[in-house]
Amino acid sequence: MSDPNQGEKDDVRGYVAGYALALALTCAAFAVVRWPSFNRITTLAIVFTLGFAQAIVHFRYFLHITLAKSARDDLWLILFSVLIIVLMVSGSLVILMNLRARMM
């Protein structure tokens, strides 16, 4: 590290960038709902996509999960957790929605 302050500036810049991106995505998500201009399903899809993007922004800029080697353990852990969560949540929804449909 040649300039000790350089690291700090980079770190601050990272947080500011993350904050700005997250703000933009949040506002966009609320705006599509506040001023509806698409049908229900499309709006929902947009909201979920924006939410997913924002989660990635948070992981990248606030939690510093990157593709760098040092973050690899954590990245694998998170990806594995996502796999398990997707299995559990989608499984629960499919099973119980199916039951509801068959009972109604």
Binding site: M1, P4, N5, G7, E8, D11, V12, Y15, V16, G18, Y19, A22, L23, T26, A29, F30, V33, R34, P36, R40, T43, L44, V47, F48, L50, G51, Q54, A55, H58, F59, F62, L63, H64, I65, T66, A68, S70, A71, D73, D74, L75, L77, I78, S81, I84, I85, M88, V89, S92, L93, L96, M97, R100
Partner: protein
């Protein structure tokens, strides 16, 4: 291994504090695992919320009570608190002195408490309108999911308060630093859970 090499994701202490940096590897990884385990709890509450969306038993649904403005303001408060906590971490990493670190922490705590106050007001309005968790399954699932996040934020605030005592008490020693790193992860993680809450719960409910 050179100390500058990053040990874990997130703010690394490699440049500024060699010894703590070496120790932090397993402590931080352990905390990540805890967070992922906690994420499963939230995920299942989301699944339950989805399953019980129609379980209103003729009564009011949680979605009838959602209002977009408070939800939006709460979101902004929590997002900003994530940013201010990030500033506290940066200040700690680069040895900006206790005062700067403490100032950012106090701001974060104030935002956290503000969020909780707004959320409590939302809940009390709902209850005053007769939308009680004991009214139907749909409301039960709402009142398990969203207040659990609130409880986590409250725990985070308590943790912050304890750290506000420990930072002046011990200075930025090894344990304080590691604890602040972990609290940072916790705080940012709660913000991510909140993204899911405002998308899946509030905005989905508000789409007409």
């Amino acid at each position: 291994m050179s100390a500058a090499e990053a040990k874990h994701a997130g703010i690394n202490l490699g440049d500024s504090d060699r010894e703590t940096h070496e120790k932090a590897g397993s402590e931080i990884f352990g905390f990540w695992i805890f967070l992922m385990s906690d994420a499963v709890i939230f995920a299942l509450l989301f699944a339950t919320y989805g399953v019980m969306l129609r379980g209103t038993a003729g009564g009011p649904s949680a979605a009838d009570e959602y209002r977009i403005l408070p939800a939006f303001i709460e979101t902004l408060i929590l997002l900003t608190s994530s940013f201010t906590f990030g500033m506290a971490s940066v200040a700690m990493k680069h040895g900006r002195g206790l005062r700067t670190v403490l100032a950012w922490m106090v701001i974060t705590l104030a935002l956290g408490l503000g969020f909780l106050a707004m959320e409590l007001r939302d809940f009390s309005t709902m209850i005053a309108d007769g939308a009680l968790p004991s009214r139907n399954g749909n409301l039960s699932s709402f009142f398990a999911l969203v207040p659990l996040h609130g409880l986590h934020v409250a725990a985070g605030c308590l943790w912050l308060a304890v750290m506000l005592v420990q930072v002046p008490c011990f200075g930025l020693d090894k344990r304080v630093k590691i604890n602040l790193l972990r609290l940072g992860l916790f705080w940012h993680f709660l913000d991510i859970v909140w993204i899911a809450i405002f998308s899946v719960v509030y905005l989905q409910g508000l789409i007409r």
